[in-house]
Symmetry: C2
DNA sequence: CATTGCATGTAACGCGTTACATGATTAT
DNA sequence: ATAATCATGTAACGCGTTACATGCAATG
């Protein structure tokens, strides 16, 4: 149920339309909690029905601007503080590692090398947008920096692991 | 579509019943690709219909022993080598980080501290089962060690990040 | 006037979770 | 006997993805 809280979190920061939220998800939350347009509009309907958000203005082209309600804020805080994050994360990358004995050692090593390169690419990509993240200092971006740093460290560790793992294969 | 490949991977290692697979998922794949009993039995049906696996023996209590077919092996290898792993991983833990400005700095720091402790607990738990993982040397367990090491490094990095992030808050 | 961008929505399908439902065999 | 374990399945519901469908408004 986290798409709901992603929407509440963004609206707690500032009111927005479905379209605005869509871009916000693509820009800032894409690597953490991706959402499709279709899913968003659906959730906006449910959140409105539940009284967590409300339409505060209508603009051109049928634009509806949503704002978070007091109830919505309560729910957001409850989720932040009382609900423990999920511990398990699925990884089809690691699932493949378990079954690597099903292919030649050469292919297995190639697989791990590719994963290492992939991690380094992700790392480089993050470094390249460091400026954007460190630019503004609204509080969304401020905390975004923490998530950014997480990404850096994670991909770093992943790249090192992949290099190590490649050497472990026969 | 990775549950399918998890099943194929386990059956490539050795034939088993749905019940056996269930335990294998809980024991070795729980942290990488969890599956429920219900999902498993459903997938076994689909895999059989698709000719990827077949019933090779029937035992007491309606037990059906499944084995992977040649087609199944082909599909498993194709998935291992040709299908690139998903790049995005959802994390409601990080999603919360984005919205931490919605609670008091004290609560925000407490959140990060809890996540750090959680990572350390996970780390300790992994260390405690090191013996089990390093024990046998069938190839499933051999490659399991690689995934195990990944977990160690990941949780290590996560714990360090959480300590760092906690200090970043005002 | 034509293109791009803004803007909202619906439908179909598959995967994952929870709960329900049943029954045979083995061990104590 | 009775409890634990082995063993298989179904049903309901929600979330996520892809594709479809439509139309207004601003920019050049």
């Amino acid at each position: 149920m986290s798409l709901r809280h992603g929407v509440l979190g963004l609206l707690a920061h500032s009111s927005a339309s479905g379209y605005d939220l869509m871009r916000a998800f693509d820009l800032s939350l894409a690597n953490v909690w991706p959402a499709t347009q279709s899913q968003l509009y659906g959730e906006l309907g449910k959140l409105t029905a539940d009284g967590m958000i409300e339409v505060v203005a209508e603009g051109p082209r049928g634009r509806k601007e949503y704002a978070i309600t007091a109830e919505g804020r309560d729910e957001l805080r409850r989720w932040l503080i009382d609900v423990p994050p999920a511990r398990v994360r699925r990884s089809d990358m690691l699932l493949r590692v378990f079954f690597l004995s099903q292919v030649d050692p050469d292919q297995a090593r190639a697989y791990l090398r590719r994963q290492g390169e992939q991690a380094e690419r992700a790392l480089a990509e993050l470094e390249s947008i460091r400026g954007v993240v460190e630019g503004g200092d609204d509080d969304l971006r401020h905390h975004g920096r923490l998530a950014f740093e997480y990404g850096l460290r994670l991909h770093q560790a992943e790249a090192e692991w992949a290099r190590w793992a490649e050497q472990q294969i026969s």
